[in-house]
Amino acid sequence: MSYIIEGKTGDWEVVIGLEIHAQIISQSKLFSGAATAFGAGPNTQVSLVDAAMPGMLPVINEECVRQAVKTGLGLKAKINLHSVFERKNYFYADLPQGYQISQYAEPVVGEGTVVLDMPDGGSREIGIERLHMEQDAGKSMHDQDPKRTFVDLNRSGVALMEIVSKPDLRTPEEAGIYLRKVRSIVRYLGTCDGNMEEGSMRADVNVSVRKTGETELRTRTEIKNLNSVRFVMKAIEHEAQRQVQAYDNGEEVVQETRLYDSQKGETRSMRSKEFAHDYRYFPDPDLLPVELTEDEVEAIRASLPELPDETKQRLMDDFGLTPYDAGVLVAEKETVAFFEAVVEECGDPKLAANWVINQMPRELKRSGKSIENSPVSPQNFGKLLNFVLNDTVSTSAANTVIGIMYVDGDDPVAIIKDKGLEQITDSGEIEAAVDQVIAGNPDQVADFQGGNEKAIGWFVGQVMKSTGGKANPKMVNELLRTKLKG
């Protein structure tokens, strides 16, 4: 998959790296005992530590460290037993300390790898540079008052993981697939809920372009704070185009931070702050280095759940699913859990995969529900598939039934009975319907008998229609062929 931008002076390729900020799932903050729950009243989940009152000291939440290590293991990365919190100094209204406590020279997690499942069925390995822990800042609201900015410190001090990729991504699509994959991994691990709307996951994107064939990297820009996969992809497209145009016009690309304006579909420079990148990191004297033991790391490794790549492989090995189908099913852990429960009920993994991949999202969308609050249990879903498998209902009738299951209730037995959707397998009844259709359409009969074999499909459709979709299509087909040819 190549993504080339044709400029006036030649062809350009795009080089992309992502920094993903993922909120660590924990009850309390990284350095204080205040709660982390989303949506509380302003400043109600703030301790004096989070508000940076003089003399308050941070104490490391050990669960947050464990979660970061767990994520590192999920990214097949090197775990650093010794890591150090440092201060990143800058001033902003929602950063009461005047510095963010982060990790810099010695992060808790080093190099790792993420495997991407590409749409063509192949795979791509993307390198992870590092993962470090840091505290979140508060939230500024600029639209509450004409002259004032309002600040809520509830997020201040919440633990984040920053997952930094190597500049291995080459297309906007790859960046999107990578972000989705990391999201999937942290959700399987239970280390981040991956909720991009609530801001528990967001990304900064580093973009540069270079002429095809060049091996050195050119100047990159950083687009901050993108909160959806779509925006990440769009922002990369726009920024790459902008850089190519700049080079084509004989201009230089300046290393700077930019913002993506989703309304206008463009990136623009943040008012460049002088010395903006001079953060003067130094080890935080209030915190001792984090020292882990091999035993602790091994205990965390032993607690790892099955991860998407492993689940995918298992679905392919055990159920004979295609890489594509298995990949679609494992993307969300809720989907794969539902799928496995359906298979348990109906015993036919291919049919189950087909329906869970196609019908389920369609019906969830139509009924405005999500898989977390699915109105249909996997058991009832599987029960319906059983009726398809044993010819109790036709596939088209089953499609009708599932529509009703997602809206009105979820027992397929009652719906089939209530709507009279049992498949007609009584040959006498089908024969009558077939005879009627043949008798009523002499022109089409002549057409078929004149050699147009494909016309059989039209006859099947007519019989199905006259039986309300309940006739067994296989029997209809056989009867039609016998009678038309006879």
């Binding site: 924990s26 009850q27 309390s28 204080s32 005992g33 205040a34 709660a35 009243g41 302003p42 400043n43 109600t44 989940q45 703030v46 301790s47 004096l48 530590v49 989070d50 508000a51 104490v59 490391i60 939440n61 050990e62 669960e63 947050c64 100094n89 001033f91 902003y92 209204a93 500024s140 609201m141 600029h142 509450q144 008052d145 004409p146 002259k147 004032r148 900015t149 309002f150 600040v151 809520d152 410190l153 913002l259 943040m270 008012r271 002088e274 010395f275 001079d278 003067r280 080890p283 915190l287 001792l288 280095p289 984090v290 020292e291």
Partner: protein, 103 residues
């Protein structure tokens, strides 16, 4: 290492400390003296010695992941009066307020 006037200007800006132009030169001299004094430490041979992070021989204190703090908005906002807000009440809707920052 010694600092010149421009270094001092930059440091003062980063620290958001306003330093009058005429004070830059003298400050550069004073700060250079302090640095020179501390730099004597580099005369000690430290090759192969691990950096010491604390004088106390202790490992990082760990905190269990339980909610044990917060829920004290009134205390947190107690000093946050804002004369720009007409009511004189800084705790508008329970927020801190600051002069508008728009990026």
């Amino acid at each position: 290492m010694s600092l010149d006037k421009n270094d001092v200007k930059k440091i003062a800006f980063l620290a958001r400390i306003r330093v009058p132009e005429e004070a830059l030169e003298p400050l550069a001299g004073e700060l250079s003296n302090i640095i020179g004094w501390v730099e004597q430490l580099s005369e000690v041979e430290t090759e192969g010695v691990a950096p010491m992070t604390s004088v106390a021989d202790m490992t990082w204190p760990r905190r269990a992941d339980t909610v044990s703090d917060g829920d004290c908005a009134a205390d947190v906002l107690a000093n946050a009066t804002d004369p720009e807000i007409p009511s004189g009440d800084a705790n508008v809707g329970g927020f801190y307020t600051v002069p508008k920052v728009v990026e």
